[in-house]
Amino acid sequence: MSGVRVLVGTRKGAFILTSDGRRADWTVEGPHFGGWEIFHLTGSPADPNRLYASQSGGWFGQLIQRSDDGGRTWTTVGNDFAYTGEVGEHLWYDGTPRPWEFKRIWHLEPSRDDPDTVYAGAEDAALYVSNDGGQKWTELTALRQHRTGPTWQPGAGGLCLHTIILDPVHQDRIYVAISAAGAFRSDDAGTSWLPINKGLRSGEIPDSDAEVGHCVHHITQHPSRPDTLFMQKHWDVLRSDDAGANWREVSGNLPSDFGFPIAVHAHEPETIYVVPIKSDSEHYPPEGRLRVYRSRSGGDEWEPLTNGLPQSDCYVNIYRDAMAVDTLDECGIYFGTTGGQVYHSADGGDNWAPIVRDLPPVLSVEVQVLP
C-alpha cells in the first residue's frame, strides 16, 4: 500500500508525519533543526527521497538543507544568495527608494523531472535556481530587474517571492507571485517576465487595477489544466483561464474573501479549497469557527467543511504555504495552523482530524505519496 509523508515547516523546526495509504495512524518525527524557522520543507517530484529545507533565523541567517534519504539525514548546502549585477532599489514602506537586501528564502520549488534542479524565492524579491542540488545558486535577474521593479513595495510580511509554479506542459513557463508586487509569468525560463495582474482590483492601492502593486497571497494550478490558475489575493479569490492574462473574481458566497492558502483537488481540477480569514487586521477565522471552504465549480459557489474542525473559540491563522493535497485515489487535504495543529482529511474535505495538535506555529505543509 502507498504511504504518505507530510513535510511540516514551523517556527521552531521541521517535522515529518508519516502514515500508510489509509491515513488513519500517524507517526510524528522531529524536530529537525530545532529552534530554527523552517519557512519551507518540500520534496522533489522526481525523487521522493530528495528533500529541501529553507532554514533561517534572526541570529544566524539563511541556510539550505538537503536530504537524500527522505529526511533521515541532512546536509547543509549552499546559501550564497547574491543579487547579480546592479542591485538597484525598490520602494520602502515610506515611499523612499531602498536597495534590495537579501533576508530569507520563503519557498523552494524543485523541478518536476530533475532532483538536482530547484528554484528558490527570496525576500527581498528575487528568483534563484540551482542545478546541482542546492550547492550553487544563480539569480534569474530579469525578474528583479523588471522595469516595474523600482515601484515594488513590501507587504507587511516583507517584499517576498513566495509562490513559484513550474508549468507542467510548457517547458519554459514559470509563474511567480510577490507580496506586494503581484503575479508574473515567464515563457522563456526566466529570461523575461510579464506582469499578469489584469482583472485584480485592490482597494489598498491608489490605482486599484494597476499593472503591479497587488498583494497576491498564493496561486495554484491543476497539472491537467495548466492555463487555469486560482489565486487567493489579500482580499478576493480569483481565477484565470488564460495563463494569467485575465482574472475574474470567484469569491461568491465566502464569509470572507481574505485568506492565505488556496489548493486544488488532485483529481478534480474544478474543485478548490480556501480557508477564509476574517480580515487583514484580525487574521483569524470568522466567528472563531475554523472552516475550510470547498468549491466544486471552480469558484463562485462555496460550501463550508466543518466536520472535525473546531467550531468555537478558534483564533488561529493558516499561512499561504501551509495547505497541500495528496494524489491518492481519494484525495487527501492537509493544512497547518499558527496554533501548531496539522489537520487532514482523507476524503476530499468531508471529514477532518488533527494529525498533531501542539507543534510550533506552522509555516508550511507539503505532502508526498510514497510508493
Partner: protein
C-alpha cells in the same frame, strides 16, 4: 592554537561538541586577528559561512557577538590583534547569539 566557543545552534550545524581548536597564523607570522580566526573557522566548517558574518560584506550579523577575556570585541575592527591570552590559547574566543526576543 586558538580556542573558539560556538553557540549551541552553530555547534549543531558544524556537528561539533565542546570548543573548536584552530591553528591560526597571521601573514608573515603577524598578529592573530578576529578576521583570521573567522576565516579559519569558516574554512574548516564551510556550513558556517554566512551564519556569523555576511558572506559578501564580511560584516558581523546583527545578533552575533564576539567576546574574549571578559571584553566585548563585537565592534572592534576585525583586523585588530586579539588579546595575547586568546592568541596563546589561554583564553577562548567566544562567539554567541545575543540575547534577543524578550
Amino acid at each position: 592554537m586558538i580556542r573558539v566557543v560556538l553557540p549551541a545552534h552553530l555547534k549543531t550545524l558544524a556537528k561539533v561538541t565542546g570548543e573548536v581548536r584552530l591553528e591560526v597564523t597571521g601573514p608573515q607570522a603577524g598578529p592573530v586577528t578576529q578576521r583570521l580566526v573567522l576565516d579559519a573557522l569558516e574554512a574548516r566548517y564551510p556550513m558556517l559561512l554566512g551564519t556569523i558574518r555576511d558572506r559578501h560584506s564580511g560584516k558581523r550579523r546583527a545578533f552575533v557577538r564576539f567576546y574574549a577575556c571578559e571584553e566585548d570585541l563585537s565592534n572592534s575592527s576585525p583586523d585588530t590583534p586579539l588579546p595575547e591570552r586568546v592568541a596563546s590559547g589561554a583564553e577562548p574566543y567566544i562567539i554567541l547569539g545575543a540575547m534577543a526576543g524578550g
